[in-house]
């Protein structure tokens, strides 16, 4: 009964290159401290036996030895520093995402994981990955702090509301692995778990075909975050301000009358009102949509409305950012382009726009 399933492996599975690197460090530390610990134990045991009170025994008056003390503070320190020195590259490896790794977006929400693939496929509490391909994982939260942990990849990072944090993995072993939420997040914390399925490329493609049936047509780009972001960009009427209608008053030709043209924005240096510059990375663009007043592009009035969570979910936000990131000069739809009428958007939404 109870013990029927008690098949407990002593060690967690390793399913990525990083997990192996990690384990080397882990076992190195283990080896050193085992030796050190056993040394202490042996000395304790030996002294306890040897100097146990015996008739006629007299203790010696020994006050200490600076030399010994120096030895046993410097040697441990050197070992500790070696752990540290090895630990830094291991940690930094998790922040150094390989070029071109496709990005998977993970949203934590009490109490589930919502996951979106680069092609727009979404899953809940499951993550399918092809083997031997590096993927970037970016996480955001809709409520409290969570933590997306996959022990088999020795990977873990907090998913904090209000910002995005990224890491990456390259699975190297086909199999099924746990996803745990590792940051306490309330009642269902222990049920905020899932599975990573690492598959052979062929199986993965097959799986993808299976879930993609719902897509509108067969183009791979369809349903990609950027594609969905474009829809949103039109639907949410961003285009009414961020467009290519040039303003005669403005000397800068590459801009509309109301708001900065967003083409080529990603990773460019943006002047802030106040005089500083900021690099327009994902978190900047994200913040510009959630809280436009946070950092205001110099020379523009901060008239852009904020889009809080009720308006634009964390996923939609991600997709908008993906779209903006993809914009190269000339990519913005023209303001006069046909665009779908915003679903349920109040008429006043275009207030001050072309209806005027």
């Amino acid at each position: 009964m109870l013990f029927a399933e008690l098949e407990m492996p002593l060690l967690p599975p390793t399913a990525s290159e990083f997990a192996n690197d990690y384990d080397w460090l882990f076992w190195y530390i283990t080896a050193v401290i085992t030796v050190a610990g056993l040394g202490v134990y042996a000395a304790l045991a030996w002294f306890s036996w040897k100097y146990m009170k015996r008739p006629g025994a007299k203790p010696i008056r020994l006050l200490g030895s600076h030399k010994l003390e120096l030895i046993w503070s410097v040697i441990p320190l050197l070992f500790f520093l070696s752990f540290y020195a090895w630990g830094i590259p291991i940690f930094n490896a998790t922040t150094k995402v390989p070029e071109g790794a496709p990005e998977i977006f993970v949203v934590g929400k009490q109490w589930m994981w919502k996951i979106q693939h680069p092609n727009g496929v979404r899953e809940i509490n499951e993550l399918h990955l092809p083997v031997n391909k590096a993927v970037k994982i970016t996480g955001g939260s809709e409520d409290v702090i969570h933590d997306f942990g996959v022990p088999a990849f020795r990977s873990k990072f907090d998913v904090v509301p209000g910002r995005w944090i990224s890491t990456w993995y390259q699975p190297n072993k086909v199999g099924e692995y746990h996803i745990f939420c590792d940051q306490y997040c309330g009642q269902g914390h222990s049920q905020m778990v899932g599975k990573v399925y690492v598959m052979e490329q062929a199986d993965y493609d097959q799986w993808l075909d299976g879930v993609k049936k719902t897509g509108s047509d067969n183009r791979i780009a369809d349903g990609s975050p950027a594609w969905q972001g474009r829809q949103l960009f039109l639907k949410l009427q961003c285009i009414t301000c961020h467009n290519n209608v040039y303003d005669a008053d403005r000397t800068n030709s590459n801009t509309s009358n109301r708001a900065p043209n967003l083409e080529g924005l990603y990773m460019s240096k943006v002047p802030m009102s106040g005089g500083s510059y900021i690099t327009a990375d994902e978190n900047y663009i994200r913040e510009s949509i959630r809280n436009p007043e946070a950092k205001v592009h110099d020379g523009w009035k901060p008239i852009m409305p904020a889009f809080p969570q009720g308006q634009v979910s964390e996923f939609e936000l991600y997709n908008l950012v993906a779209y903006i990131k993809s914009l190269q000069p000339g990519d913005l739809p023209r303001r006069t382009d046909q665009f779908p009428a915003p679903v349920g958007a109040p008429v006043k939404a275009t207030e001050g726009g072309n209806s005027k």
């Binding site: 949410l236 106040g274 007043e293 009035k301 901060p302 008239i303 904020a306 809080p308 958007a345 939404a349």
Partner: protein, 262 residues
């Protein structure tokens, strides 16, 4: 043992049973107060640290919100507190030289000045409430497409805007539009929180001064050795002043003020 161990009125001994002499007792009492003030530094340090984080993140918003405060009252209060510190120090001297009349007068003056500070402070709070500068939790505007999403239609925002217009905030070339409501709200949280903590410390201090005044009337300080109790209370009072010295620039003077507003 050392020191006289009898009091004027024959009540409790000057040197408590567990001390060997008066100097040990005095220096323990003094040290105890300094240690307590060290904890107070850390206590205020915590909230100052949080303030600094956000001040650095949102300088414009904090400046705008601060502009809405009343620097006049703060200035008057600075002088009141400064003077009360002065009288508190004189009280130590009076106790040390055994001048009971002067001691009582100085304690009373400190109390009066402290209460006056609180009076102005309450008036200021009252004004703030009247102007509606109370950070409220409600985001009045859930629909950003419809309205301006920075929630400028919320009561707090209206009030803030109103006050700032009144203060001719715009004339400095600043725009209320540059300002984020949530951050102004954050400023006001710190404003009420920090001044509130300071006020609580003032009230405690005034209570202790009143107590010492009563003790003084009963002749407790006739043995001059007991001046040290006045001294440590004055130490505490100086610390309260120290806190105010930093609240003034961080909360009130951070905004845009000019003499012509007065």
């Amino acid at each position: 043992m050392a020191a006289t161990n009898s009091t004027h009125d024959g009540a409790a001994p000057i040197v408590a049973h567990h001390f060997n002499n008066i100097l040990q007792q005095q220096s323990s009492v003094r040290f105890g107060m300094w240690l307590f003030l060290a904890t107070e530094v850390l206590f205020f340090g915590g909230v100052f640290c949080a303030y600094t984080v956000y001040r650095r993140w949102f300088p414009l918003d904090f400046e705008a919100a601060s502009t809405a405060l009343n620097p006049m009252i703060a200035g008057i209060n600075s002088f009141l507190l400064l003077t009360s510190s002065f009288t508190a120090t004189l009280a130590i001297r009076a106790a040390y030289t055994g001048n009971q009349g002067r001691l009582k007068a100085m304690l009373a003056a400190t109390i009066v000045l402290g209460v006056a500070f609180l009076g102005f402070k309450s008036f200021e709070y009252y004004q703030d409430f009247e102007e509606g500068l109370v950070p409220s939790a409600q985001v009045a505007n859930p629909d950003p497409l419809h309205h301006h999403a920075r929630g400028m239609d919320s009561q707090f925002a209206h009030n803030l805007q109103h006050v700032l217009e009144h203060k001719k905030y715009y004339k400095d070339g600043a725009h209320l539009e540059d300002v984020n409501l949530d951050r102004c709200r954050l400023f006001f949280v710190f404003y009420y929180g920090m001044t509130g903590l300071h006020v609580i410390h003032m009230i405690v201090g005034i209570g202790l001064f009143i107590w010492q005044y009563i003790l003084a009337s009963r002749g407790f300080f006739v043995p001059k050795e007991r001046f040290v109790y006045v001294e440590v209370l004055a130490l505490y009072w100086h610390f309260v002043e120290l806190v105010w010295i930093f609240l003034l620039p961080l909360l009130y003077m951070t905004g845009h003020h000019s003499f012509s507003d007065l």
